[in-house]
């Protein structure tokens, strides 16, 4: 009777539940509003550049930056959603008593954590994929621009989102919903500030600032992943330039070790979440 894994059942319920959450509806609404603004803005900008006789290369460089800015907006919306959507995935069900009924079944508690993690990951991947497709289609339709360097950047964005939702789920094994939300946003906030410090250090040639920024990224890697994503979305010819907003054009690009560190960080956080939930009194 226990041959089949209960994880798909938990995944299904998690997706079913998330679909009904207002925070996802708000995220989708915000995403649609953003896409509308993005499409109109890139269309008008492109028309202006054509009218003013801007060269093709300059137009392409601008449209690339503009598209990366679009991805940055998607990244930001996704970060919020990745923290807030699963914020009460475990804590809320523990507080309400729902978890007692589920955890008393012949399943491992790890199945519950993993099922929820996979469920939210599927939702977030769909969200990022949908909005990313929206940005690419809007750029193509409004400005005839085709962004070529997307795959690696999107993969890095997804890793960043996966890491944040892992932190949110892990926090939910011990913290109340509100405290967990604050932890998740604080975790990202720290990464963001660390990223800015690292960029300023890189731009101004201050090694200590850069070192501090890198150290913060080790504690909280999400922003480093975004900067890697933004770097890989640029054509190789643009990557040496540092003119532009620091969150789009990187003066200090994390190396591949940071990628492996982020993957390891996420795996360790997920393992901790499982262990913490296993020991939690329900």
């Amino acid at each position: 009777m226990m041959a089949m894994s209960p994880i798909p059942t938990i995944v299904h319920l998690t997706i079913q539940e998330a679909r009904r959450r207002r925070v996802l509806a708000a995220g989708l609404l915000g995403g649609c509003a953003f896409l509308a603004v993005f499409g109109v803005a890139i269309g008008f900008a492109h028309a202006d550049m054509v009218r003013s006789g801007t060269s093709f290369v300059e137009r392409q460089a601008f449209l690339t930056l503009f598209t990366i800015a679009g991805f940055y907006a998607i990244n930001f919306l996704s970060v919020l959603l990745a923290v807030l959507l699963p914020v009460d995935a475990l804590s809320g069900e523990i507080d309400s008593g729902v978890m007692q009924t589920v955890a008393s079944k012949p399943i491992r508690r790890a199945d519950i954590v993993l099922g929820k993690w996979i469920g939210y990951l599927i939702i977030m991947a769909a969200y990022v994929g949908l909005l990313s497709a929206g940005v690419l289609v809007a750029g193509r339709l409004a400005a005839g621009y085709v962004q070529l360097y997307v795959a690696r950047g999107l993969a890095l964005m997804l890793l960043e989102i996966a890491l944040l939702l892992t932190v949110s789920i892990a926090g939910g094994t011990r913290l109340s919903t509100v405290a967990n939300g604050i932890l998740g946003l604080g975790f990202y906030g720290m990464a963001f500030i660390g990223g800015i410090v690292e960029q300023i250090g890189g731009l101004a040639g201050v090694p200590s600032a850069r070192t501090i920024g890198i150290a913060v990224s080790l504690v909280s890697p999400p922003d480093a992943l975004w900067r890697m994503a933004a770097y890989h979305m640029q054509p190789s010819i643009m990557r040496g330039f540092v003119e532009g907003p620091p969150f789009l054009v990187s003066a200090s690009v994390p190396n591949a070790l940071m990628l492996w560190w982020a993957i390891g960080f996420m795996a360790l956080t997920l393992a901790w979440a499982v262990r913490s939930f296993q020991r939690r009194a329900l």
Partner: protein, 306 residues
């Protein structure tokens, strides 16, 4: 099946400095309906949670259906209705039962058939496809009860099963517990409604400060009767003579005597003995002590309302 459904020895749970369950030593026989009674804060719910592996014991040992606490294979044979049953309100009763059935590994037609049977049994068939958010407290409780039985358990824990139910709902729960007993299912009931426990359970344990302080068999009449009689005259000879039929012979007023006897079968002997001695008998009434009275007596007068 093991003869003993639940056996614990010195089970203990400590939350920081608070000792929630001090020393739970308990034995529940397979196939019996067992009442778990105690005042608020006695550690009843924590005890159930330890038996279900929802809470890890701080000390002691225990087995459920012959396996150590928390055994996953055994949990497939256990049903549980928690106190204040709640679930995702957007689900319908049918979806909820399907979800829980799948967690037990049930699939396809057998699961559908089981859901249908249970919906009929708890009288929820007509509301089965409506979201839980529109349910009354009683409907939620009945749905929770169906959830606890979805796997046709060998042992079912019911934590306050009649909470929020109207008299008809309580009757339904009582009938279901009787059916479960008849089928050999062990039923572990935690309830404040002593009348319900009295009507459904074979045996009860009284818990105080996380310890079983008394056990009582309700089936049969081992608890005895309290006998009250109005007779004349009441003299020393009569009082001493009544002593051989029972215990605690007390004169409580003019011509009124109370005593404890082992059962109804003693009453004709007492009546005969009194008449033979020329004592006039005006009334002779046996009264079984209610579970509520037992509760008050066992818990002691130091107990305050919870």
């Amino acid at each position: 099946m093991s003869e003993t459904a639940i056996a614990t020895r010195g089970l203990q749970k400590r939350f920081g400095p608070t000792l929630a369950v001090a020393d739970l030593s308990l034995s529940v026989r397979a196939g019996e309906a067992f009442g778990f009674l105690g005042p608020n804060g006695a550690g009843k719910t924590t005890s159930i949670k330890m038996l279900l592996a929802l809470v890890e014991p701080s000390g002691g040992t225990g087995t459920v259906l012959g396996a150590p606490l928390g055994d996953r294979a055994v949990r497939a044979r256990i049903g549980f209705l928690p106190e204040h049953f709640r679930f995702h309100e957007y689900l319908t009763a049918r979806e909820l039962l399907r979800f829980h059935g799948r967690l037990y590994g049930l699939r396809g037609l057998p699961l559908d058939a089981r859901i249908e049977d249970l919906l009929v049994r708890v009288d929820m068939l007509d509301a089965a496809d409506r979201p839980l958010r529109g349910y009354s407290k009683g409907m939620l409780q009945r749905t929770g009860l169906a959830q606890a039985l979805i796997n046709d358990p060998a042992l079912v824990f019911l934590d306050e099963p009649t909470s929020g139910l109207d008299p008809l709902g309580r009757l339904l729960v009582r009938d279901i517990v009787s059916e479960l007993r008849a089928r050999g299912t062990t039923v572990f009931v935690n309830s404040h409604l002593l009348g319900e426990v009295e009507a459904t359970c074979d045996r009860v344990a009284f818990v105080k400060q996380g310890r079983v302080i008394h056990e009582l068999a309700l089936a049969g009449a081992p608890a005895g009767l309290e006998l009250e009689m109005r007779v004349r005259p009441v003299d020393v000879e009569v009082v001493e003579g009544l002593g051989r039929f029972g215990t605690s012979v007390t004169v409580v007023g003019d011509n009124c005597v109370r005593m404890r006897v082992s059962g109804e079968h003693v009453i004709p002997d007492i009546a005969r003995w009194l008449v033979e001695r020329g004592v006039s008998v005006f009334a002779l009434q046996g009264r079984r002590k209610s579970l509520e009275e037992w509760f008050v007596e066992v818990m002691g007068t130091d107990q305050r309302p919870g």
